[in-house]
């Protein structure tokens, strides 16, 4: 069993986002980068499969220098090797999918695991695009995965129930929270990661299918208002505001 896990770095949810001067990208100052939380589920699933039945796990990311840190962490967690495909992070899912497909093509991966979307970007596009480009079966937003002989059974949450998808391997599976509980690396894992290969490949400059024209922060929340007077007066004022201003009653 050979598994590819695709990982992406995303800004930590606690980061205070600032828009860069160009109005189309994030100001990288003060941004703390973390592994996309959904990708952590993909990584964890790969490690569990490896522990249960044996597998070679390759962690792959498309990005720049800082991506190395995330790949080192993947090696510390238990990936056997890591590959950094150097390319600009343009926010274009098709470009990422093409890079991943070009790498995975002909390497004999039985399973390609990705988070179902990148936190923040929320496109949810790379997984399905990758499956299409490679002509593989896919199941997305998966919360339970079982592997059989050359086949898989995946569950995904559907409105009011569970959808079960069966298909043959190789396949692309995109993972949702709840699939598993991602682990932390151990000390031995961290120290052993130094000895594992982290390969670097030059990405091919492909024409972007989409480009981001502008990003903007949500408008600042207006300041709260304090009602004055005794309880009766405040209640009356509140009632009036709910009726006339908020128009909720």
């Amino acid at each position: 069993m050979k598994i590819l896990v695709a990982l992406k770095q995303v800004p930590d949810t606690e980061t205070k986002i600032k828009v860069a001067a160009d109005g189309r990208s994030l100001d990288p100052i003060d941004v703390k980068w973390i592994t996309n939380p959904y990708d952590e589920n993909a990584m964890e699933e790969a490690l569990r499969i490896k522990e249960a039945q044996g597998a070679e796990v390759v962690a792959v990311s498309v990005g720049g220098e800082r991506t190395r840190e995330m790949l080192r962490n993947a090696l510390a967690l238990g990936a056997d090797s890591a590959v950094l495909i150097r390319a600009l992070e343009t926010g274009d899912p098709l470009s990422v999918a093409r890079h991943l497909a070009a790498y995975a093509q002909g390497k004999g991966f039985d399973l390609l695991l990705l988070g179902h979307m990148g936190f923040g970007g929320d496109n949810g596009a790379v997984g399905p695009m990758l499956a299409e480009l490679l002509g593989l079966a896919q199941a997305t937003v998966v919360t339970r995965l079982e592997l059989g002989e050359g086949c898989f059974r995946a569950e995904r949450e559907a409105e009011g129930g569970t959808e079960v998808i069966e298909g043959s391997l190789p396949a692309v599976i995109t993972t949702q929270r709840g699939l598993n509980e991602p682990r932390y690396p151990t000390l031995k894992g961290i120290i052993g990661a130094k000895k594992k290969p982290l390969e670097e490949l030059e990405g091919t400059a492909t024409e972007a299918a989409i480009s981001i024209s502008a990003i903007a922060l949500p408008p600042a929340r207006p300041e709260g208002r304090k009602l004055e007077g005794n309880a009766a007066a405040q209640a009356a004022a509140l009632l009036q505001l709910l009726r006339e201003e908020a128009k909720v009653i």
Binding site: E69, R72, N73, A76, Y184, P185, T186, L187, K188, I190, I191, A193, K194
Partner: protein, 376 residues
Amino acid sequence: MQFELSEENKMIQKLARQVAETYIAPSVQERDEEERFDRALFDKVASYGFQGIHYQDQYGGSGGDYLSYIIATEEIARVDVSLCIAIGGGGLGGFPIHSYGTEEQKQKYLRPLVEGTALGGFALTEPGAGSDASAQQTTAVLEGDQWVINGSKCFISNYADIYLVIAVTDRSKGLKGLSCFIVEKDTPGFTMGKKEHKMGLRSAVTTEIILQDVRVPKANLLGKEGEAFKYCMQTLDVGRIGCAAQALGIAQAALEHSIKYAKERCQFGKPIAANQGVSFMLADMATKVEAARLLTYQAAWLKQNGRPYGKQAAMAKKFTTDIAMEVTTDAVQIFGGYGYSREYPVEKLMRDAKVHQIFEGTNQIQRIVIAGNLLK
């Protein structure tokens, strides 16, 4: 000069912080209140391998550097120094076995300490032998192929599984008549005495130990007969860096809580941090913490590079534990009345900080060590 942590140091720092915040933090207050040591929690934290970072693979360690161990200690102490004592117990018991033990002793006793399947204890202090280790009353007499140990020890950390016990084997030789023995807790005649009710470190166990005709095989003598005092001094030298790291973690926590609180707490219509009096306190606290960190990391760096580190370890221990006391006291002041309440985290930090000026050699003893190095 290089002031950058290695990639590995940083990964270990991050892991230690994650583990501390995920597993240790939720029950800190409760365990402190109940004076309860949670062995299952220790097992969980130990499963990551923090206690054995700097030991080689052949003894179950991770083969990392000593600075990584110190950084992990700091991170765990930042959340709960009581648990850190148990993690560090492997170091205090492990160091002498690693340094002076036979290969057989290392496989039998060091490995479980390093792997975290056993807890280590270091039994030196006695009611009448605190700073003056030479006043030992515990004795060990060789009878056939067994050592028979009698005496009592006090203020011994952890409900440990493996203890190093210091005892007099030849009283006529004074400090050179002390020897060190490896004693397993289940050995007949070995009992735990009263549990200390302490000001701080309340969820770390500290007990009296009573040894009554405790028989251990001849093979449990560690190193050479009569050399235990030297081993103790070297063990305490190393332990001082760990002690400094613990105090550093406490001080760092106090600083972080203080900054957060000073920005949130409003009096006279503005956050108290807007008062220069408060902001200057924060500035002083942060400066002390930073200086202490540099001293502590420097001592760790000297040790891991095989340089003499006794003086720097004593300096790091004295300075860091003193500033931890100052910074935690200031943190309580910044929190005001709430700082004095057990519902807020800073009074615990102040209680936990205090003992660091006392154990692992009092800060008065540290000054003797430092002065001794200067004047030799």
